[in-house]
Symmetry: C2
Subunit: 233 residues, 2 copies
């Protein structure tokens, strides 16, 4: 039995708590980060708070092994005086949407093999995909995730705006969006590229620009150039 | 029984041919667009050739009802002397990947109700999602598709580049990519937006920019600004 103390009440903490509750080998307790004067002892203390609060919250925890769940904070930014680690799940967590932990990649980091193994056992109790990822690699994953998640979602918003302004149902684009995401499981994104930019179809590009507002035009032009440049900077 | 003549040998034509072969109420014949001197008569002739070739190919066809399959060509760009229409499937077709036609949106257009009904019967013989879409609406869908498909795929490529340059496996991002695409089935893209830009997390944004090359930085900056501007132009 592994005892886990979960510090935090946000989305990630809420989903993790539910998952650990259902794991047979985990004894889970959850507390708020505002109440750290007297806290329960635990084999692993998981701090699931906002990035900016990690240093301060960790400095107040006297438990033996403290890890955080952030994609962009280094392991050494933990300010506890004992063992440190990272328990980062690379997925987007929404309040009202159930998470399939079996599909979530767990990116783990610790200073010794023994501590890494403990995190691995923890991750395996709720998930399947486990990766050993250093703080440097995690930073890289995080910036790549901004492109494929945050910026991609913004492209969906622009697509939605264009449809709304012209009374076309956005739902027609949903199957295309899903197929675009699925395609790169079997094809590299470079090989999967289609559209007027890669075909250098100037007539269509000109027609498209005429339909867009200034902000949309700017993004359209930069992508067209970037797609056409290939791997040149 | 509806007789269909399919003109063209590309990806769209190949997938359509296979689908119609399996439909019980369709009699399908396929020919190349290079051989239009003597062609079989048919209730509907579907021209599935490149956008630039549609006008010329259609001008050579004497059959009664001629439609094209393009997202960006107007119905009136067909140069046959008889009935015209559009049979546009909004999906990305790859050579080696099977298409689930039941999920493909069929965007149909014709000049009379009778011709529209014929196209609808045709679409229903292989698919399920049928929409009546004018040439103007189709142009809008096409430009929106460039954002959510072509440009999104380019963001995947950049994510892949960043991982490759830093020896991190890109596959770790795959579940996130799929979840980002699925999320907007239940949440509007505006509400689904997360990340450092919308949080105005300047420290993370600065750190990320330091990890990117010039082209990636330019895209990062423009998206951050566009996300933060919301609906302002």
């Amino acid at each position: 039995m592994i005892s886990v103390l979960l510090v935090g009440k946000g989305n990630v903490a809420a989903h993790l708590y539910t998952a650990f509750l259902n794991a047979h080998n985990i004894n889970i307790t959850q507390i708020s980060s505002r109440n750290l004067d007297i806290i329960p002892k635990a084999d692993v203390t998981i701090i699931a708070v906002s990035d900016d609060a990690i240093a301060e919250v960790s400095s107040k925890i006297k438990n033996d092994f403290v890890v955080h769940t952030s994609g962009s904070v280094s392991m050494n930014d933990l300010k506890n005086n004992s063992k440190k680690g990272v328990f980062y799940m690379l997925q987007t967590f929404s309040k009202d949407k159930k998470v399939s932990f079996s599909k979530v990649p767990f990116c783990l980091e610790a200073k010794t093999e023994k501590e890494y193994k403990l995190l691995k056992t923890l991750a395996k109790s709720i998930g399947k995909k486990i990766y050993s990822i250093s703080s440097e690699q995690r930073t890289i994953l995080h910036v790549a995730a901004v492109f494929v998640n945050n910026f991609t979602n913004h492209l969906y918003k622009i697509g939605n705006d264009i449809c709304k302004e012209n009374n076309v149902p956005f739902e027609i684009l949903q199957p295309l969006i899903k197929e675009t995401a699925s395609k790169i499981e079997t094809l590299s994104p470079k090989k999967a590229q289609t559209g007027p930019a890669i075909r250098n179809d100037e007539k269509t590009i000109k027609n498209h620009l005429n339909l867009l507002n200034k902000n949309q035009q700017q993004i359209y032009k930069i992508f067209t150039k970037s797609i056409q440049n290939g791997d040149k900077l």
